[in-house]
Point group: C2
Chain length 238, copies 2
Amino acid sequence: MEMKVATAVACRDCALYQTAKVLGLETPDCSSLNRVVLRDHPVEKNEVLYREGDSFRYLYLVHSGSCISSATILGRKSQVMGFHLPGELAGIENIGQQKCNHTTRVLEKGSVCQLDFLMLEETLGKDELIRVQSYLLGASAIHARQLQWERSLTGLQTAEQRVAAFLLNLAGRFESHGFPAQKFRLPMSRDAIADYLGLAMETVIRTLKNLHKKELISTQAKNIEILNPTALNALLRS
Amino acid sequence: MEMKVATAVACRDCALYQTAKVLGLETPDCSSLNRVVLRDHPVEKNEVLYREGDSFRYLYLVHSGSCISSATILGRKSQVMGFHLPGELAGIENIGQQKCNHTTRVLEKGSVCQLDFLMLEETLGKDELIRVQSYLLGASAIHARQLQWERSLTGLQTAEQRVAAFLLNLAGRFESHGFPAQKFRLPMSRDAIADYLGLAMETVIRTLKNLHKKELISTQAKNIEILNPTALNALLRS
DNA sequence: ATGCAAATCTGATCCAGATCAACAGTTGCC
DNA sequence: GGCAACTGTTGATCTGGATCAGATTTGCAT
């Protein structure tokens, strides 16, 4: 059977729109807003939003679809650094840097809003600059929290714990953007999950199967249902 | 034989002093500076700088000695999140948060400078606010880079790679603060390294021994000498 | 110096997960 | 519609590192 869930954030819930409002760009005629924000730009699967080494210019808000970031680091050809779900920003990791340090590409086709930083800075008074900086500090803090969460995956010994933590993190993020937390579709391949968690793909597959068998979750291809979040959480504590 | 190395940054090299200068607090009589910065405050081993849940107020610059940060996260009682060497800031991870999300304690006795954020904000004009925010964005970016580096440890398969990466990271940080990169003293226990890297203490010990046997490094208790940085780096690429 | 507690090291065992290999299912493309 | 390429799944094997149990060293306090 097919699971149907909402797949896009409403414009009023879009973080970039909120941002633009906060930044004082929401003039009645939307002229300032439209100079800086490109709304609802469609993107195709595998399209690259920005590449490692590009000079940093845009912040992206995933409106529908999803994205994956990867980076060349510590001598590995490429390591999956994170995923961007509908309602989330991509590119925050570049704040305060000259160049992009991730490559971010589209995982599932959809649309993004794009905020142009160069354009933004051109037309900035002192008060606006203060607001922008405040906002960026907040965004950086949110990003740092997710990074710290990911960093703490290192401390989880078993594959089961890592996969459980991953599913709960996704669930929480979906929920905080207005999607159901119990039932969702994984935007990424098993391979990408494995890379993200530092496991082999086979281990991810077997672990998901095992959690299914234990009736903590239900999996059918990319469709996930979390049946027992409490027990899932308890796994992390053992 | 005893290895002697410098163990404290000079005041003029202290990041907080630089910071204060950048922020325009370096009046001839140091009155503004002294209101906001507590210079060279001695700290004892195991002293807590700030605790998880405390409201965020101070940024610390490790002048001499060293610190360790840990946090309760993902259901673990405590996970080592990072180390703060002489010349480095502690507390940046709290920027943009109300409450501290790490507990940071002194690993080796020494002294710290302390920057009071509350006091700072009280006496801030627009221009100063802009400078402070700029500085904080830069500091956050540096912190995020280290976090990303740590996050990518997840992708390293073997204990040897993780330990090698750890030693090279420490070496680079020592060097960038004016200390020798090849020869230094580990401020932390094997246990803390293990926790930080997500390994068992015994594995860390054996791996260090093994790297010694291969003559890539030389270890004598907490004294480390990196004999072949190139080969050490090459380990990460295999 | 001396002694004691904490930190470090060594050895032995065992198992979770990596790796290899073969195959099935899916998607998209001519 | 059918082939190619990717993605997912299962089974079998093997090894690196966790775990447990001790021995030894280090460094601090007196």
